[in-house]
Amino acid sequence: MKKVFGRLKQNKYLLAGVIMTGIAVLLALVSIFWTPYSTTAMSAAEKFDAPSFRHLFGTDNFGRDIFSRVMKGMGTTILISTLVVLLAGAAGILIGALTGYFGGIVDEIVMRITDAINGFPSILLALVVITLMGSGRQNLIISLAIVFTPSFVRIVRSEFIRLRDADYILRARLMGVGKLRILFVHILPNIFSTFWVSVMIGFNNAILAESGMSYLGIGVQPPDATLGMMLSDAQGYLTTAPWYALAPGLSIVWLVLGFSLLSEGIRRQA
């Protein structure tokens, strides 16, 4: 524990990242059980209230409390991004490890596919996938996971290629260590520092993609609150209630910044 604090003290990036994501995750967790106001309760009397102690971030066009909705929205975004990164990361490790270590024709094909997907704008690809599968939270998660898998495959694969010919791996092979054991016991622990950085970057991109999709109205459907959807609603009231757009927008920035500081911090730690 002491060691962790020592590291945080030295590494400002890590410290800032931990604090920012920590606050966001905490708010999201709390929002599961409690929000200051109901996220759906409308109040005609309180339409477009500016930020105050009563309504921290003000109220929207239906008189709903924006802070409460931002809490819920962050929760949705974090949940979706976590699942996306978990799925894509796991698939990335599996595919990247096997193709990177064994190479050959399968690797060649997988690489062509990942290259093509990587070259294609990710948000468009997610759009296409979601059209094919239909919208909804679950399909959104699956489509984003499909879109993000190639970037993990690439990173894991290149690490496995780098390490498969390392002297200590050649020696492990000479010792007669089995293939799966080499892959997951000998090589895998050595790629974690790189992998964690890419997980954090993945979070980053997943948050951006999720909010982008819901901004375009293709992601999570109402009445669930999401940051992107709030932003797109707020755009119509920019002149009357600029804070309405600012609150969800800055929350997205907060989340993304938190995760990118985390990834930078981890990178420097390694």
Binding site: E108, Y168, A172, L174, G176, V177
Partner: protein, 533 residues
């Protein structure tokens, strides 16, 4: 001509050069020798005004003739230095590949010297001067070289370009920091000869920094021995090498593998049958490895759909046998196929023709680089047990209990001269020599009959080198091992091996008893190799 007085240089408060004084007379070649971390490079860089800005000069002065270049406590006068750098003092670095700008033609890079320090030359005259310099350092095809980028030249040629750059303005002082370390032995000799020739022709002083005592002995007039930032001893080459005063100097000289010290040779293998006169009979032990008509090739070219793959033959017609308990030395320059041959023997190269017959279990390997030989994610204890664990996973009959495995690991740790505490450490906490000990331990724990050691001591400082060689020899006798010992250093090979095999361009040119080969080399190439050191 150069006077360094009482120089101390510190990084982050720790002094890496301590109260060093050094003078270089006109036309003199002074060698600075020392192991890694002795502060020899920092001294040279400080003198050249190139030491990084994190370094602080805590005491001392540096003079060039009558000019005070540097004084402790005063900031480095960059403008003054710039008027000296290149024109009055120049430097040759260790890595000619990375020391040249990869995206500029080498001709232009040399020409930059003229652009910086002369005013009266036309573009044409400049180019001519560069071509002249190229010719004088032995780059015959000067016109072509002028147009080349660094990656298009060989290591030796690149270093010649560096030298041409350093001497084009006839500076009074040339500093050479390990200029031959990254090169092959034969190229190494050429560069040394070239430096001597330049010294004779241009009469410049040279400061030659090296870890290799043999080179210092061959090139220098005077030698300074450094250790931990201090000057241990200095004197003429004869004084230092023939009558060293200090214990450390003596230790350093002794550690250098050399043919002159026959006594250093280990005894012939125990268990040899001796005849009535007490002479060794030819080895009559069973073969452990038979290699016959072996061709090894690999696929050249990228893995693309369009580029056709070319088969490139690396080893041609290799035939030899190894006896049980023998150390066979394999010597040759880089790219001669030593490593490819050893990988084929280990069964790691599939593209082979001919036969390899093993009369032992799977051979193990020890690599050159102690830093990449051990898995950094695991503890030493885990690493030492892994071969046993793997054997158990492969075949139930080799399964061991955890306690037995640990006992075996501790036992092996002691055998390579390390104490129990290392069992719990990770390789990142170990020094290069210690890592190499662990590599050896890990290779030997399953008691293989044959071990291939690919340049196992080349990356180590001389004193450590000697210790590791001794350890390998000791374990070889204790555990009745056979070693295929690969090295580019003919002296190391001499000290280690019972028999020697010489390789050139993928072929075995000569094979025989060590003494025999050294006394009567038959092939021209072998003679050349022996003459060069």
């Amino acid at each position: 001509m150069i006077k360094i007085e009482n120089l101390s240089v510190a990084f982050d408060g720790t002094e890496v050069v301590k109260k060093l004084s050094l003078t270089i007379a006109d036309g003199e070649i002074v060698g600075v020798v020392g192991e890694s971390g002795s502060g020899k490079s920092v001294t040279a860089l400080t003198m050249m005004g190139l030491v990084s800005e994190e370094a602080t000069i805590t005491s001392g002065k540096i003079w060039y003739d009558d000019t005070l270049l540097l004084e402790a406590g005063k900031p480095r006068d960059k403008a003054l230095y710039r008027s000296f750098q290149g024109s009055k003092m120049s430097m040759i670095f260790q890595e000619p590949m990375t020391s040249l700008n990869p995206t500029k033609r080498v001709g232009n890079q040399v020409e930059e010297m003229l652009k910086l320090h002369t005013t009266d030359l036309t573009a044409k005259q400049m180019k001519e001067k560069v071509l002249e310099a190229f010719l004088s350092v032995g780059l015959k095809d000067a016109e072509r070289v002028y147009e080349c980028y660094p990656h298009q030249l060989s290591g030796g040629m690149r270093q010649r370009v560096m030298i041409a750059m350093a001497i084009i303005l006839h500076p009074g002082l040339v500093v050479a920091d390990e200029p031959t370390t990254a090169l092959d032995v034969s190229v190494q000799s050429q560069i040394i000869r070239l430096l001597r020739k330049i010294n004779k022709e241009q009469k410049n002083s040279m400061l030659f920094i090296t870890h290799d005592l043999n080179l210092a002995k061959r090139l220098c007039n005077r030698v300074v021995v450094m250790k931990d930032g201090n000057v241990v001893e200095s004197g003429t080459v004869n004084e230092i090498f023939d009558h060293p005063k200090e214990e450390y100097t003596r230790k350093l000289i002794e550690a250098v593998p050399s043919r002159e010290k026959k006594m250093q040779r280990f005894s012939m293998n125990v268990g040899d049958i001796q005849n009535a006169n007490g002479q060794n009979m030819p080895l009559q032990r069973p073969d452990i490895l038979e290699v016959k008509d072996l061709n090894v090739s690999y696929m050249d070219g990228s893995n693309s759909l369009f580029s056709s793959k070319k088969k490139k033959q690396v080893v041609t017609g290799a035939t030899f046998t190894m006896k049980q308990g023998e150390i066979l030395g394999l010597v040759g320059e880089s790219g001669c196929g030593k490593t490819t041959l050893s990988k084929a023997i280990l069964g790691m190269n599939k593209d082979v023709e001919g036969s390899i017959i093993h009369h032992s279990n799977q051979p193990q390997m020890i690599f050159q680089d102690p830093y990449s030989s051990l898995n950094p994610a695991k503890t030493i204890g885990w690493l030492l047990q892994e071969p046993l664990r793997a054997a158990g996973l492969r075949d139930k009959q080799f399964e061991m209990t955890k306690a037995d495995r640990e006992a075996a690991a501790f036992d092996m740790l002691h055998k390579v001269g390390l104490s129990d505490k290392y069992f719990y450490r990770k390789s990142s906490q170990l020094s290069g020599g210690q890592r190499q000990r662990i590599s050896i331990a890990q290779a030997l724990i399953t008691r293989p009959g044959l071990v291939i050691a690919d340049e196992p001591v080349s990356a180590l400082d001389v004193t450590i080198q000697a210790q590791i060689m001794e350890l390998m020899r000791k374990l070889q006798e204790e555990m009745k091992l056979s070693f295929l010992f690969i090295s580019h250093d003919i002296n190391v090979i001499y000290q280690m091996s019972d028999r020697i095999m010489v390789m050139k361009e993928g072929r075995i040119v000569e094979i025989g008893e060590t003494q025999e080969i050294f006394d009567n080399p038959k092939e021209a190439y072998t003679k050349q190799l022996l003459a060069e050191v």
